[in-house]
Symmetry: C2
Subunit: 241 residues, 2 copies
Amino acid sequence: MTRRLLLVSNSTLHGGGGYLGHCQQQIQDFFGEQVKRILFVPYALHDRDGYAKTARDKLQSLGYEVDSIHEASDPVEAVRMAQGIFIGGGNTFRLLKALYDNKVVSEIQKRVLKDGIPFMGSSAGTNVATVSINTTNDMPIVYPPTFAALGLVPFNINPHYLDADPNSTHMGETREQRIKQFHEESDTPSVLGLREGCMLLVEGDKATLLGSTKARLFTRGKPAAEYEPGSDMSFLLTEGE
Amino acid sequence: MTRRLLLVSNSTLHGGGGYLGHCQQQIQDFFGEQVKRILFVPYALHDRDGYAKTARDKLQSLGYEVDSIHEASDPVEAVRMAQGIFIGGGNTFRLLKALYDNKVVSEIQKRVLKDGIPFMGSSAGTNVATVSINTTNDMPIVYPPTFAALGLVPFNINPHYLDADPNSTHMGETREQRIKQFHEESDTPSVLGLREGCMLLVEGDKATLLGSTKARLFTRGKPAAEYEPGSDMSFLLTEGE
């Protein structure tokens, strides 16, 4: 499989140099010099114009021109012509609904999985790259036609993964408890919790953790496990086969 | 309208005397001495037997017998015969899906809004009492047929409402930001953020805040507003009319 994915936990890291600052080296390594233009998908935020400007300013400073899909007269054609895709973060429900409303789901799958164009996601954009959005942290502000997502990898991700605060008096479920509830319901065996500062690089059948923080893997029926930056996570790509 | 509702933010409060401890006086005032048996709805948790035992133990100590709807051969008939209903917390998506799967939505609406039997909800059980579950905090572990809920009141509630931590370095959206995102999308004008320890009593057309903590009200196009325990919130019941 030719897929190339950079799945980032979060676009802005505390103390990390602003929007996409903490992962700009990985972005340049990932898109490289062959990609000249990146198709940006701003559907996760309400202000698409403002969001496109933010992404364009940053990616131009890294040497890439940006087309925003919301400015295209035909979004499917925009995907068909794209050299690379970046789906930004925001609200995952709004994002997934807009991907279906604009009928670009199957074309993105084809371009990434068959044609091998590079795909980057951040936060909600990372959620929609996985099997489903069942492990998003977001508020369900709109109702998408399904929770099934792009399925570019055969597992789920929980971005912005957060360890429980032992001093908290708040009684809402911890993130780990929520993911356990997901495992009570779903057949998807694994959920990769990407802490802020962490990202997953997928090149074909090889997956590697990058960034400055560890990831926590939740696999049904197994104890949760910690993985350091640099860890080989390729085993996740053959799950369910 | 004869409706009688006790909508509690959370079932267990830190330092509040265990399950339903912080609101047991309000529960007894609400169900009173006429109600002898309460129909419990444990659908929000995976372990329905265990959950029914927890609720039964607590409510029996307050003088009420408990029938759990999951033990009934006909859930709709169980609602039809109920003297009072209590929907417990857990995962809101799982709860709403089970209410539809068991076809009890319209019967609960009829019993509460027409027959006037008392309805208590806690956390997820409070979410499903409102217009929709669009303002739940829970992880979307299952896909319900709609986000529309029981509609016993014409506004939404955010239970376990949490103020932003000014010292946090986590970059996920604050609760207030999430509710603002909801207002970018929905026609429902108001979202009442019930902090843990807070609850809303509705008696016909009168609504009153009870408990030990303040609530924060988010109305589209207005600044957020704080309300003390004891505040008259009846104005919320005529919204959208």
